[in-house]
Structures are given as structure tokens and as C-alpha cells.
Amino acid sequence: MIKTAPFEKRVQTGISRPGDRLTRNPFAEFETYTVSPKELPLDEIVQSTEVVMDQIRRGYEKLLEEEAKELVWMVQYNTIIKAYEVAEGYVKEIEYTAEDIEDFCFALENTQKIPYLIPGPAGLYISALCNYVQEDEILLKLSELKTEINLLGFRLPKGKRLVIEGDTGDFTGIGIEGGELVIEGNTKNWTGAGMRSGKICVRKNIGLHTGEWMMGGEIYVGGRVRGLGNIVEGKVYEREKLVFPGKARYPNIYY
């Protein structure tokens, strides 16, 4: 008679007989491997983006609370300066990238989290974000936005280049301080008003009062200039032709 070791012993040594239910575990090496909950890299990215977006959104809400209590905001010299200072004070404190600014622009229209899109404060806030972001070149793809945001490119400093794909509203690029603003679309009225230095390029058409009280810098328009403002100093080109200073153009003469 053949003597065999007890079952437990055979299991320990890995020896089994035909008929034993338990045979050698072919996955034994993985016995101690703990199945870890999955954290996908994309989840981390989304999470961190949401944290930044919350901060940016809170800043915008704070701006609205302080500057547009009645949900009415009048564009006046003082209100612009004050609102920008509030926005500036907030954005200085947060860390974000140019991509976050673009996301915020779309969040303004598309999410329920941001209560109101008021084009003036929104534009000032986005301008402040652009002026304080680390990157020197900022590209905002806004062609899908339904609202044309005002005041984009406000006080764009020297060394910064802001490219906007899509159309913008009134007061685009006012008070530019040496930066380069490129609009791959149309702009409305008062573009480049009060700008001191720098460059604005509008690929398509531009509205009335272009360069009102402009003190320096250049405005290039690829399409038509609907009307020039009272320009103090600087240059305005329409389809590569210098229209200010020049004889042919007068403030807000329609042609």
C-alpha cells in the first residue's frame, strides 16, 4: 500500500494528488498584492482644475458683490478703475494658468455655478487674470462664446501678448500699457480708447470711437474702421493704410 502524507502537509508542500480539490495556486505570488483603488491621472487633473476654477469663480463673485450690487454696472472711468483694482487684488493671490482663464470664460456662460455674466465686470476680471498670469503669451479661444465680452485687454502690460479668437465687445484694449492685443475677429466701439502704448491688431472690422483719447501706440485693422475717436497721439491703420494721423479721416464720420 502506498502511504501518502496528510492533506494539510501536501498543501503546504505544494504536492497534490489527483482528486485533491486544492492544487498549487498559480497566482500565489500575487497573494499579498493589495488591490488598490484606482486614481486615474485624468481624475487628478480634473480635480486640481476644479480647485483653481473655484478660486477664480469666487473672485468673480466677490467682484460682482462689491461692484455690481444691483446687477447694474455703468461704464464710467471711476467704476472701471475701482472694479479693476478689486479684481487685481484678488487674482494676485491665486495660482492659475492661461488655460484656466479660457475655462473661466466658458464657465461664465455654461455653468450654473456662476450666477451672472455681466460683460463689463467679467471683461475687467478676465483682463486682470490675463495681466497677472505667469505666461507671457495667452490664447483665449472664445469664438464659441455667445456673449461678446467688454473691456478685454484692459491695461495689458508690456511683454504680454493676448490673442483672442472670436469677437469681442465694447472697450476692447482700453488703457493698454505696452502689451500686444490680437483679436482674430471683430471688435465693437471704443476699441483702444485711452491706450498709452502697445499694439492692437483686429483681423476683421472695428466699431465707432476707435482710439478715443488714445495717447500712443498703434491699432491695426484688417477689415474696416467704422469710426475713429478723438485721438491725441498714436497710429491707426486700416488694411495696412495709415488712417490716423492723416487727412482722410475725421472722428466718427461714417463712410
Binding site: R21, L22, T23, N25, P26, F27, A28, E29, F30, E31, Y33, T34, V35, S36, K38
Partner: protein, 444 residues
């Protein structure tokens, strides 16, 4: 990992080979270090008691490199190695390869075998193995596989042995190496052309054979091999002579060849190295792709899988044959050697990835359409090695994408195997199906 300086001694031998005996370019990289694959793999073959097929054009150092390595690792003078070599040719006979009857004794009515030097020496070289006709290749199958050499009613067993076989590319005088013999080789490497400049150096310098020759020891070895004492009793005497020649090499070349106890210690250390989880999971993944067939249960060289299978994108669809059980042993053997040489404490995915092409290249039979698609691709390696290197890269990419999921699936498999009531994890790779099959098997 013990610090006994063996790795440094092996690397000294590598450097001696590389700097003085076998000039070639580095063509193999692992963990930032570059090596010549022919020297490195031959060293590991000799240390791990492997079987290596060296291919290449005539005159590019296939046999020479193997001879030098055998001489330095096993402490045999070159003259003894030469005298023990078997050369492949159509007229080769069992009597020349394995042994012959002692004719004197036979006249007296006694059967006694005179064993060939080839069977007695632990470092074996078969030169131009593919010039042996296919029928005669079968004669060395058992010996190559297990170290058992039989003639008449006698047998000797090599406790320690390694085998190098060289093969030229196909020409008028060559035969196909039969599949069972091919599978017995653990690795296949190419002895490459060293480039015009190094080749010029080879031609300019004198031959280096004399460095490892010692006529006095060679005669003594020859006398020992011819003597009528039992093979087991010859081994200690052989070791004595080997150690004497080893001392000579140490004095003249400054490199200490490895004594038997050194080789045994090295082997023990190598065998203690186990796969880490990634190394294990990746190896399983490769084995699954080289053996799996959803339609027919496994790959078989006589069955052709059709288009339209869910697993068309995997390697199982590109090959004809099934990976043998010798393949995982070969992979582990060389990966252990590599990990040991690099002083790593476990076999990781880098070791596996680097040795895998050399253990697979000669074993895989690719489908004709794959061969015709890729034969004109730009490459540095011989075609079979190139194909396998590309395949391993693709599998590694797949592994990187799903390593966590795969390890989870294996861990869950282990828990189910131990009796936990869980469902096997799903995944899009043949290995998940293999896990399920193993778990099914447990139910019976």
C-alpha cells in the same frame, strides 16, 4: 545580494573578452549600461548552464567567442576545447559525437564504451550545427536537453554542462534545425560584424589563441579523458587540472577564471533571485500572447486561426506555433543572470524585457504575411530577433497601459483560488481568459 566580488570577477572576464579577445560593438543596453550581446549572453550561458545558439555570417567570431568564454569560465585550455568540439557535417556519426565501443575489449568479447571528449567536458561546443542532417540532429537531443549521453548500454550524466552551437545562415550546405532541437536552445544571439574599423583591428593584430593555450595541461587533460577510469572519478581530477590552468591564466592575464565552487556559488545566488510582481505579470502576459487561441484552446502549429477573432490585434494572431514550457525557464534563467550581474535583488521588468527577445527569437514561427510585411523594415538585428524585439515592445506597451489592472486580476485570482467568493476580473487580453481557465480548473 552577497558582496563576494563574483560580479566583479565576471565583469573582468567580460572586459578581457571585449578589450582583447573578441572585438565588437555594444549592441545591448540595460539600465543605462551598454554591452555586446554576444559576449554578455555567452557569459550568462556558461554561468547558468544554458544552451545558446550563435548565428552569424562565416568568420565573424561565432565559434571563437564561445571557445574563449568556455575557456575562461570553465578553466580549460583552448586546445582541450578544440579537441572536444563537435563539428556539424553530413558524415558525422554517433561514434564521433558521443562514444564508441572499445575495440580492444570488444575483441575480447567485452562491451565497453570509450566516451568522446565532447560528452565528458562540461563546456560543449557544436560547430555549424545546421550542417548536421536532420536525422542526425536527433542523436544529440537528449544530451543537449538533460546532459544524459547514452551509448550501447552505458550512460554518463553531466552534472554541470553548458552548450554552445553555432549556425551559419542558410546556404547550399545547411539543413533546417529541427523544431525540438531549436526549442532546446535557451537563447539565440548573433555574432555581428564589428564594423570596418574594428574588423581592420582584428586583421591587424595577431591571433589571440596563444593567450589561452597551455600544451602541457592540454596533454594532461587529453590523457585524463582517454583514461579508463569511471567518469565520476575523472571529475575531481579534471577540476584539479582546471584549477591549475586557472592559476596560469590568472598569472599571465591578470584575470581569475572561475573554479567549480565559484560557479556553484554564483548559480546558487542567481537561483535565489525571484521575480518582482511586475516581472512576473509581464512574463505571464508575454506567455499568454505566444500561446493563446480562443478558437482552438491553444496555439498549434498545424492549426491556423482565422481573421475576425476578437484577439486579432494580439501576437497570437501573428504566429503559428505555441510557446513551449522551456521558454519560461529560459527567460527566468537569463533574467536571473542579468539581475545578479547588475547586483539587483529581484528580477524586474527591465531584466525580463531585455533577455526576452533572445530567448524567443529562435522559437517563434511567424505567419507568412507577417514576414512579408516586415522583412524590408530598417533594422540592425537579424530578422527573427528584430521581429521579436518589436513584439516585446508592443506587449510592454500593453503592459504599461494595464499593469495595475492585470496585477489586480492576478491577485483576485489568487484570492478566488484560496476559496474567497469573488468574480474573476474582466479585461481585454488573453491573460484574463487564461486566469479564468485556471480558476475553472479549480472547480473540477
Amino acid at each position: 545580494m552577497e558582496k563576494n566580488g563574483y560580479q566583479e570577477r565576471v565583469m573582468e572576464i567580460y572586459r578581457l573578452m571585449n578589450d582583447h579577445l573578441y572585438f565588437n560593438r555594444p549592441d545591448f543596453e540595460i539600465k543605462g549600461e551598454k554591452y555586446n550581446s554576444a559576449i554578455l549572453f555567452s557569459l550568462l550561458t556558461a554561468l547558468r548552464q544554458g544552451k545558446e545558439l550563435i548565428i552569424g555570417e562565416p568568420g565573424l567570431g561565432k565559434t571563437t567567442s564561445a571557445e574563449f568564454i568556455c575557456s575562461l569560465i570553465y578553466q580549460f585550455p583552448l586546445g582541450v576545447i578544440w579537441a572536444s568540439e563537435v563539428s556539424g557535417h553530413p558524415e558525422q556519426t554517433e561514434e564521433k559525437i558521443i562514444g564508441r565501443p572499445d575495440l580492444g575489449k570488444l575483441n575480447q568479447g567485452e562491451e565497453e564504451v570509450v566516451w568522446s571528449n565532447f560528452t565528458q567536458i562540461p563546456a560543449k561546443i557544436v560547430d555549424e550545427i545546421n550542417r548536421l542532417p536532420e536525422t542526425k540532429q536527433s542523436m544529440i537531443l537528449n544530451g543537449v536537453d538533460r546532459g544524459n549521453w547514452e551509448y550501447l548500454n552505458e550512460m554518463i550524466i553531466n552534472e554541470e554542462y553548458c552548450l554552445f552551437a553555432t549556425a551559419n545562415y542558410q546556404d547550399g550546405g545547411t539543413n533546417t534545425i529541427i523544431a525540438p532541437l531549436v526549442d532546446r536552445f535557451d537563447a539565440m544571439i548573433e555574432s555581428k560584424y564589428p564594423g570596418a574599423n574594428l574588423s581592420f583591428q582584428v586583421g591587424k593584430n595577431n591571433r589571440k589563441d596563444h593567450l589561452l593555450r597551455h600544451p602541457k595541461y592540454e596533454k594532461e587533460f587529453h590523457r585524463l579523458f582517454k583514461s579508463k577510469i569511471a567518469y565520476e572519478k575523472k571529475i575531481p581530477k579534471m577540476e584539479e587540472l582546471c584549477n591549475g590552468f586557472g592559476e596560469f591564466v590568472h598569472e599571465t592575464l591578470g584575470v581569475r577564471p572561475l573554479q567549480k565552487q565559484d560557479r556553484e556559488q554564483i548559480r546558487t545566488e542567481m537561483e535565489d533571485l525571484a521575480y518582482d510582481l511586475d516581472g512576473s505579470a509581464f512574463t505571464r502576459m508575454v506567455l499568454a500572447e505566444f500561446s493563446f487561441c480562443e478558437r482552438y484552446g491553444q496555439k498549434r502549429s498545424v492549426e491556423n486561426c482565422e481573421d475576425g477573432c476578437h484577439y486579432t490585434g494580439y501576437l497570437c494572431h501573428e504566429i503559428k506555433n505555441c510557446a513551449s514550457n522551456r521558454l519560461p525557464s529560459s527567460i527566468k534563467q537569463y533574467a536571473q543572470g542579468m539581475a545578479w550581474l547588475l547586483r539587483d535583488s529581484e528580477i524586474d521588468i527591465e531584466h525580463v524585457k531585455s533577455v526576452m527577445p533572445f530567448t524567443l527569437a529562435h522559437r517563434v514561427q511567424w505567419k507568412d504575411q507577417v514576414l512579408s510585411q516586415k522583412e524590408r523594415a530598417k533594422r540592425e538585428d537579424p530578422f527573427p530577433l528584430f521581429l521579436v524585439k518589436e513584439a516585446v515592445k508592443v506587449i510592454l506597451q500593453r503592459y504599461r497601459e494595464q499593469s495595475d489592472h492585470l496585477k489586480d486580476a492576478l491577485a483576485v485570482g489568487s484570492r478566488i483560488f484560496q476559496g474567497e467568493s469573488l468574480e474573476p476580473m474582466e479585461g481585454d487580453h488573453p491573460l484574463y481568459q487564461e486566469i479564468k481557465k485556471d480558476l475553472e480548473r479549480r472547480k473540477f
